[in-house]
């Protein structure tokens, strides 16, 4: 499933990063690497952006970005 579909308070493991080029590279640089654990910590009223805990840091992603990340629910 997409990271976007991960509900607040739930955790998952990243299975793949879609897309290409610098956009994909950016997500990897921010720590969204396959095999990493990610938690949806909170989201803004509209759900866009949403704050994710990844490798010890909170990172906010827009929906276009979290749509590129695929996770397995824990």
């Amino acid at each position: 499933m997409k990271l976007t579909e991960l509900a607040v308070g739930k955790s998952g493991v990243i299975t793949s990063v879609a897309g290409g080029g610098m956009q994909r590279r950016r997500l990897l640089d921010l720590g969204f690497i396959p095999g990493s654990r990610v938690e949806n910590v909170r989201c803004s009223p509209t759900g866009n952006p949403t704050a994710y805990l990844i490798k010890g840091t909170l990172i906010a992603l827009r929906r276009e970005e979290s749509d590129m990340l695929f996770v397995k629910m824990l």
Partner: protein, 228 residues
């Protein structure tokens, strides 16, 4: 000239202040250091110019302040680069450290906030880490001066050539390595080797980092299309 880089919020500016005795504003919000700040310190009768760069997750920038950090490391070619890392979340910090090591061999990894890491039950095997990376690793707590003397000594040893680093070189697969070699041979006649690390530039060209090529063009005042 010494550069300070690191992920956001790892204490770069605090290290900067401790080293220079300056009161550069520190704050816990992103993008605080949008431009570089400079300061000086003396150690063993040598003058050091220290440059504090904006916090950055990567040398492949996605914002103007990250570009400042990239351009500095890439074009200003500091004598030594200190990568400040948060000891409590080392894994994410090592990404930037490895990227810096791809550009320049003279790198010191400064493991800041080592006290916080201890409080969280994290202990770091400094010796093994240093061996794995091939660069010196210095644990510090910038707020109370812990490790700062060590950091100064390590920087001095690197700058004076008493300490040699051999940063672990990341080998890519055969296809990429072949491309790198090919591109390097094309860069050679165009850009002086003293200006930029060819291997790194070749890898960025493979990445398709067109902004970097723009930056090089304006930096070198090159006319027209360069490369590919």
């Amino acid at each position: 000239m010494i550069a300070l880089v690191g992920n956001p919020n790892t204490g770069k500016s605090t290290i900067f202040n401790t080293l220079t005795g300056m009161r550069q504003y520190t704050g816990n919000w992103p993008g605080k250091t949008v431009l570089q700040t400079q300061g000086f310190y003396r150690f063993n009768n040598r003058h050091y110019k220290l440059v504090d760069l904006p916090g950055s997750y990567s040398l492949l920038p996605s914002s103007p302040d990250e570009e400042v950090a990239r351009d500095f490391i890439c074009f200003a070619r500091p004598d030594c680069t200190i990568v400040v890392a948060d000891a409590a979340c080392l894994e994410r910090n090592l990404n930037l450290a490895l990227q810096v090591m791809e550009i320049t061999p003279r790198v010191v990894l400064c493991l800041n906030l080592i006290d916080e890491a201890k409080r969280k039950g994290i202990s770091v095997d400094i010796l093994s880490l240093s061996k794995e990376l091939g660069v010196p690793v210095v644990p510090t707590v910038a707020l109370n001066n812990y490790g700062i003397e060590d950091l100064k000594k390590t920087i001095a040893a690197l700058v004076e050539g008493k300490l040699e680093c051999s940063p672990r070189r990341i080998e890519y697969d055969d296809e990429v390595e072949r491309l790198v070699e090919d591109i390097e041979s094309h860069i050679n006649p165009i850009i002086p080797r003293s200006l930029i690390n060819f291997r790194w530039l070749a890898l960025r060209i493979i990445d398709g980092d067109s902004k970097l090529l723009e930056a090089i063009r304006s930096y070198l005042h090159l006319e027209g299309e360069i490369l590919i």
